[in-house]
């Protein structure tokens, strides 16, 4: 187990270096003159040259790569071209909002997806199972940005139940910044009404973000439940007289959870990417909205910073999923002798 984690960590370092090579190539080897881009459209030749010298853009490519990597290692993602602030500072400011949204979506996926998948698997072939199959195909086919807008039309415009976007209402005061998660910070402030507002603002974006992954996870859970139901140990458990509920809870649910966890882990990548689209629709001030504003202003350091941060989180989460896999399934050991 220890060597397994060590090996994975080592591979993670390799992947991270590879990622920085890719993002470096994107920012530094693009057709066109990055210095001109940095200096702005109306800069004179001298200004462009000054910028090139300032950012080391006049040096050789390997030197530039060295400077870039050195910067990354020190948490320097470069300067945002729009607000002239270090990208790192921007990311630190916007990241908590994205993580809060993603966690809320994961919560929805787990709380709804796992039980529904279990029920569908148990009731295989019944009408409710068919309806669910149709819904899950719909869920993965739906453009989430469009789904978000439809939710806004229904719940904001028509029913007037939920806010249209943002993290708080206009009249709410922002909580003192501690964790950056409004749900936690408002509680730390003891401000229940703002907590309620933050919660209400979270519902639609989280539901939008969760929709696609919910479909995938439910489908996976259903498939694994069906597979587990056929397993010998389930028949044995039934034969020895365990109640239906106990068999489902102790044997079926737990074992079906193992492959589903992997899929859930892979979905985190989709959720992080979905953040970009969801945040635009709901004007949610996270790194996704930051990236899209960067796109509008051709702010390459900002875009690459977001790309890199999301990818690093993704790689890290995948490592955690692999470890969780071992913890959940006692049959898998990475000492060499796998019992499977």
């Amino acid at each position: 187990m220890g060597t397994f984690i060590l090996r994975r960590l080592l591979f993670m370092v390799v992947v991270l270096v590879g990622m920085s090579v890719i993002t470096f190539s994107l920012t530094h080897l693009v057709p066109g003159n990055p210095a001109r881009l940095l200096a702005g459209q109306h800069a004179s030749e001298e200004e462009v040259h000054a910028v090139a010298v300032l950012y080391g853009l006049d040096r050789s490519v390997p030197t530039q790569f060295w400077i870039y990597m050195n910067g990354l290692l020190h948490g320097d993602f470069g300067m945002s071209l729009t607000n002239r602030r270090p990208v790192m500072e921007d990311l630190r400011q916007f990241l908590p909002a994205s993580i809060e949204l993603t966690l809320a979506a994961i919560l929805i996926v787990v709380v709804i997806g796992l039980p529904v998948g279990l029920v569908a698997g148990v009731r295989r072939g019944k009408p409710s199972d068919h309806i669910l199959r149709f819904l899950t195909v719909g869920g993965v086919s739906m453009p989430i940005f469009w789904f978000g807008i439809i939710l806004q039309i229904v719940f904001y415009k028509q029913l007037q139940l939920l806010p249209i976007g943002g993290r708080l209402g206009i009249l709410d005061t922002e909580p003192t910044q501690v964790t950056g998660f409004y749900l936690i910070d408002t509680l730390l402030d003891g401000d229940l009404s703002t907590f309620g507002s933050a919660l209400v603002h979270l519902i639609l974006p989280a539901a939008t973000l969760a929709a696609g992954s919910l479909a995938v996870v439910t489908r996976m859970m259903r498939a694994s439940v069906i597979e587990v139901l056929d397993a010998d140990y389930v028949r044995t458990a039934r034969a020895k007289g365990l109640s239906r509920a106990a068999v489902l809870r102790r044997h079926v649910f737990r074992n079906a959870l193992i492959p589903t966890t992997t899929v859930l882990g892979l979905q985190i990548g989709a959720l992080l990417a979905g953040n970009v689209l969801t945040e635009v629709v709901f004007n949610w001030p996270g790194i996704g909205l930051y990236a899209v504003n960067g796109i509008k202003n051709l702010d390459y350091p900002a875009i690459m910073g977001v790309t890199l941060v999301i990818s690093v989180i993704y790689v890290f989460v995948n490592l955690l999923v692999d470890i969780a896999y071992v913890v959940l399934d006692p049959r898998i050991s990475f000492g060499g002798a796998a019992a499977r």
Binding site: G138, S141, M142, P143, F145, V276, S311
Partner: protein, 300 residues
């Protein structure tokens, strides 16, 4: 197939009855139509293709023609899906949008599958450090969340539908490389490949005539599963401003423009979004059906 050297051509003939399932087209169609969901997918896909091909003939009006006195008109007998901020007919724009969606999605799949298949075929055939090197590069690309990397690439290349297509293809080829490599490794030790090798066929001939031909079925199945996601990815990139630029009739950018008006002019986002939704779903249903009909063992 008309090689003068007898053994090789005999082996080529052998390769024509490969281990992969090869069914008659009529048989395949019947299998697809027995499942109501796949049948629905097939019909919708056919409709989309017809709409794309016949767009100029069947659209009620020019998708780019502005009639400002008629802007933001709700759905009516004249404009079934209403008009947009430039008074353009939304139905016509959606029909024309079918063209760009289908063409760019096919473009992505063609580029990604060709590049990926070449890489996978070379890696699997050569083995050794070539395999190791190529597959580590592949892993590197797979470590990124696809849409995010595509976003970064498309932003660097500059916002346009063509660049969005290139960016998505660059993100997608590794999946095909993995698939092709896996198939190659499997086929490499099949009797008909061994026979070809003994008969003196060159490695390149083996790779192309024996291995590639038998890789094609799973690759085509994968393409049919991916085409819906290709449409979705392109629409998403267009939505955040990285794909087609207004006023090009493209579904993702139509939703993006409609977002400025959606509270009062709901039709501007609803119908283009529905077009994306239905076409992606149609391709997904068809892809699922094809996968089941062609290779029941291959499950994602």
């Amino acid at each position: 197939m008309s090689e003068p050297v007898l053994p090789v051509s005999t082996v080529d003939a052998l390769a024509d009855t490969p281990p992969m399932l090869r069914r008659k087209p009529r048989n395949l169609l019947r299998r697809l139509l027995t499942n109501p969901l796949s049948a629905a997918g097939l019909i919708l896909v056919c409709l989309a293709v017809v709409a794309a091909v016949l767009a100029p003939q069947i659209t009620p009006s020019d998708p780019l023609a502005m009639t400002l006195e008629n802007r933001l008109a709700p759905p009516s007998a004249e404009h079934w899906f209403g008009t947009d901020d430039g008074g353009r007919d939304i139905l016509s724009r959606i029909i024309y949008g079918t063209r760009s969606s289908l063409l760019t999605a096919l473009g992505i799949l063609a580029m990604a599958s060709i590049l990926g298949t070449i890489v996978g075929l070379v890696a699997g055939s050569c083995g050794g450090w070539v395999d190791e090197g190529l597959m580590r590069i592949t892993d590197m690309f797979l470590a990124f969340p696809a849409l995010v990397l595509a976003m970064g690439l498309a932003a660097t290349l500059g916002p346009s539908l063509f660049n969005a297509m290139i960016a998505t293809a660059i993100v997608w080829w590794p999946w095909y490389a993995r698939l092709a490599r896996g198939q190659t490794l499997q086929l490499k030790h099949e009797a008909f490949v061994e026979a070809a090798r003994i008969a003196g066929a060159s490695p390149i001939r083996i790779a192309i005539h024996h291995i590639l031909r038998n890789c094609l079925t799973p690759i085509i199945v994968q393409m049919s599963l991916d085409i819906g996601y290709a449409i979705l990815t392109l629409a998403s990139l267009s939505f955040i401003g990285l794909g087609a630029q207004a006023p090009t009739p493209e579904w993702g950018s139509m939703v993006s423009i409609g977002r400025d008006y959606f509270l009062d002019q709901w039709w501007m986002v609803t119908f283009p979004g529905l077009a994306i939704f239905i076409s992606v779903m149609a391709f997904n249903l068809l892809g699922d059906g094809l996968q089941e009909a062609l290779s029941p063992r291959l499950r994602r």
